[in-house]
């Protein structure tokens, strides 16, 4: 027996498995009738029909119909990597603004080394930018964790935003797209699922090139064969 992991763990798989068909649907539209398919994320069953609840791309993968939204605000999920800014320091941790309706909370315990409660701002001050992982989503708020590869305080480079729904495409299948950008620019890039992207390279030119290529991808999310187009883009913009 094969063990199943949480497929959407990083959101990488959103465009991962090969879909049988893709169509743009609007809320209330019937995607398919009969018992052949099961409603997945963004879809619901109404009697005989599977109906879209959200606007986006309806994708039939196996027997499941799900909808990939291509616009809208960020909704955090467990294990999402997000980039946020420290907005407050409280007695047991840091409040992180992650561009969502409620703030993220990063407990003091999550800091990789011992931090004295009186000197918390020496590790993370208000305004500092961190990459963290969503540990838990509750109605009360979002708990963050910072233990893991690539997580922690982000120093140097710059951050910018793209629409959160474009993030899976920027990362690409198993990180193929982002690796392509990293190879071509030599930059260090961290992408938060909330659409914040941090870029740090050896010089400003390569950083700006990385940013431009990411914005190019964000514009062209729905185009097929995007990897090829991005390769060409790098050839044209040497």
């Amino acid at each position: 027996m094969k063990e199943f992991n949480d497929k959407n763990a990083e959101g990488y798989e959103e465009f991962g498995s090969e879909p049988q068909s893709r169509t743009i649907v609007v809320p209330g539209e019937v995607i398919s009738s009969g018992e052949d398919f099961l409603p997945g994320e963004g879809a619901r069953r109404e009697g005989e029909d599977i109906v879209a609840s959200r606007y986006g791309l309806a994708e039939k993968v196996g027997r499941v119909v799900k909808i990939i939204p291509f616009s809208g605000a960020f909704i955090p999920r467990r294990n999402n990597v997000v980039i946020g800014r420290v907005s407050d320091i409280v007695h047991s941790g840091w409040i992180i603004d992650i561009d969502y309706a409620s703030n993220g909370f990063l407990p003091l315990m999550e800091s990789p080394r011992f931090v004295n409660k009186g000197e918390m701002d020496q590790f993370l001050a208000i305004g500092d930018v961190v990459a963290a992982k969503v540990w838990n989503v509750t109605p009360k708020g979002i708990d963050l964790a910072m233990k893991g590869k690539g997580l922690g305080k982000l120093e140097g480079g710059f951050i910018f935003r793209v629409n959160p729904s474009r993030v899976p495409r920027i990362i690409g299948r198993e990180g193929s797209m982002i690796n392509l950008i990293k190879e071509n620019t030599g930059c260090n890039i961290t992408i938060g699922q909330n659409g914040w992207i941090w870029v740090k390279g050896s010089d400003l030119d390569s950083e700006l090139k990385a940013r431009k290529s990411i914005e190019f991808i964000a514009e062209k999310v729905l185009v097929s064969g995007l990897t090829e187009k991005v390769e060409n883009w790098f050839k044209e913009n040497k």
Partner: protein, 235 residues
């Protein structure tokens, strides 16, 4: 029939309608909808943090609609800012949109909808509802269905679809009656039904039948606009 429409339309003919989504880059969802010279834009923000806190609902997000005429939308400059009229329309728009939305996944938050009328030639609230419905869809808010909305008028004894300003001011005979109607697309669920004027009860089913036909057309335009969002790109 005695009444002739000033712009020569047939009684069941709407003004030319257009729709476009994604017009406001900073919004989470946005759309424009026009009925002839009436132009409405809508922007959706959120779900986002709701203040004041006492308005928060742990059962789900609340919907907050703000409708306003811009000062240059009418021929006499409209004094900017909220008015009794705009507050009422904001509220009825909120009520007409909320049955279509499924906001239970976003507790203690708010979905803000801003509707602005760039150009007013009557039927502004229904144009605003149509725009808001598309903007909410584009913002990725879970919805039961799109909302389609149209105004039915009664000019003297004749029922007409999509009232414009000349008709709204019509005074001969029994005068003008304006009935804004909103409904969930392709269903019989009405979410807005107002009546300004007088109408005989037996005409109401006729008015609703006219609205159903018009809403079907509006729905197609809304759907097309949403599906065409990537139309300017190579396939």
């Amino acid at each position: 029939m005695t009444f002739k429409r000033p712009d020569g339309r047939k009684s069941d003919e709407m003004r030319p309608i257009t729709a476009k989504v994604g017009i406001i880059p900073n919004a989470d969802g946005s759309a424009m909808f026009t009925f002839g010279k009436t132009v409405a834009i809508a922007a959706v923000y959120g779900p986002r943090m709701l203040h004041p806190q006492h308005m928060q609902d742990p059962k789900g997000a609340i919907l907050r609609v703000n409708y306003d005429l811009l000062s240059f939308s009418v021929s006499d400059r409209k004094k900017p800012g909220p008015s009794r009229r705009s507050q009422e329309i904001s509220k009825v728009t909120e009520w007409s949109l909320s049955p279509a939305l499924d906001l239970k996944d976003f507790p203690n938050t708010v979905v803000d909808v801003q509707i602005y009328i760039l150009q007013a030639d009557a039927s502004t609230r229904v144009a605003g509802i149509n725009a808001a419905s598309m903007a909410l869809a584009q913002a990725g808010i879970p919805m039961k269905n799109l909302i389609c909305s149209v105004s039915i008028g009664k000019m003297d004894k004749e029922l007409v679809v999509d009232v414009d300003k000349d008709e709204e001011d019509f005074e001969d005979g029994e005068g003008a009656t304006d009935i804004p109607i909103a409904k969930l697309a392709n269903t019989d669920e009405y979410t807005l039904l107002q009546l300004d004027g007088k109408i005989q009860p037996h005409l109401i089913p006729q008015a609703l039948a006219l609205a159903d036909k018009a809403c079907a057309k509006i729905y197609e335009v809304q759907k097309k606009a949403l599906k065409n969002v990537m139309g300017d790109e190579d396939k």
